[in-house]
């Protein structure tokens, strides 16, 4: 899955850090039929988790109503330098992890 992750590598102590994530994924809803009339099986990213320094920031449960090539933006307040880890998994069992080191100054 191709990923666009937009996050500052440096943040001032006490400030919120904005995270923008765009994942290339069809988010096949499971509601469509193909040209032959056969149902197209659901294939969505069903869960996504953001953790910072090992602590959970955000745990997302997703449904087929999330648009294709899902986009998420959220923010959190890191207290000390550490690693932001974003991990998600789709219905095919494909799991992906993105890791970014953040410096709190």
């Amino acid at each position: 899955m191709r990923v666009l992750l937009n996050v500052s590598r440096r943040v001032a102590r006490g400030d919120a850090l904005e995270v923008r994530l765009l994942i290339s994924h069809p988010m096949e809803s499971g509601q469509r039929r193909d040209d032959g009339g056969a149902p197209v099986p659901r294939q969505i990213i069903h869960s996504l988790r953001a953790a910072y320094g090992g602590a959970e920031v955000l745990a997302l449960e997703l449904h087929p109503a999330v648009a294709a090539n899902p986009y998420f933006a959220f923010a959190f307040r890191p207290e000390a330098s550490g690693a932001l880890e974003l991990a998600w998994e789709d219905d095919a069992g494909v799991r992906q992890v993105e890791r970014v080191e953040i410096e709190v100054v």
Binding site: L62, A67, A68, F72, P78
Partner: protein, 139 residues
């Protein structure tokens, strides 16, 4: 005794499930996350265009405000405009700001409902009716 005709009628009903989540299904999905708390207004704000041309990817922003000394525990988004009521459920850790932006599908014009549940169990909702002039392609 269940007659054959009745059985047939039953199976036809099972197949012909409504194309879109009903207000009732959305209410039940909300009830499952608010766990009996009364749904209050305020403290949560749903931002989404009231009229969109295309329901394939509608930008939506859900933000909440924690009560004094409290914390927003989770944010949830639902709609009546899709086959299933849920869009997302987000559990927030103590570091998270109480906000999530994403893009959603809308198969038809419908009410979109955002819900915030506070750490003390209080629940708040905001709703916007979105008119879609072209539906998301589900067929």
């Amino acid at each position: 005794m269940i007659g054959r005709r009745l059985l047939l009628a039953g199976s036809a009903l099972a197949i012909a499930r409504p194309a879109w989540a009903t207000p009732d299904e959305v209410s039940r999905a909300i009830a499952a996350v608010i766990k009996g708390a009364p749904l209050q207004s305020g403290r949560v704000r749903l931002e989404i265009a009231e009229m969109v041309e295309n329901g394939n990817a509608v930008g939506v922003s859900l933000r909440a405000e924690a009560p004094e000394g409290g914390r927003v525990a989770s944010l949830h988004l639902f709609s009546e405009g899709n086959p299933l009521p849920g869009v997302f459920s987000a559990r927030l850790g103590p570091m998270a700001m109480p906000r999530l932006d994403t893009r959603m599908r809308l198969a038809t014009s419908a009410a979109v409902v955002g819900v915030a549940v506070m750490a003390d169990g209080q629940a708040f909702a905001d709703s916007v009716t979105v008119m879609v002039t072209l539906a998301a392609c589900l067929e």
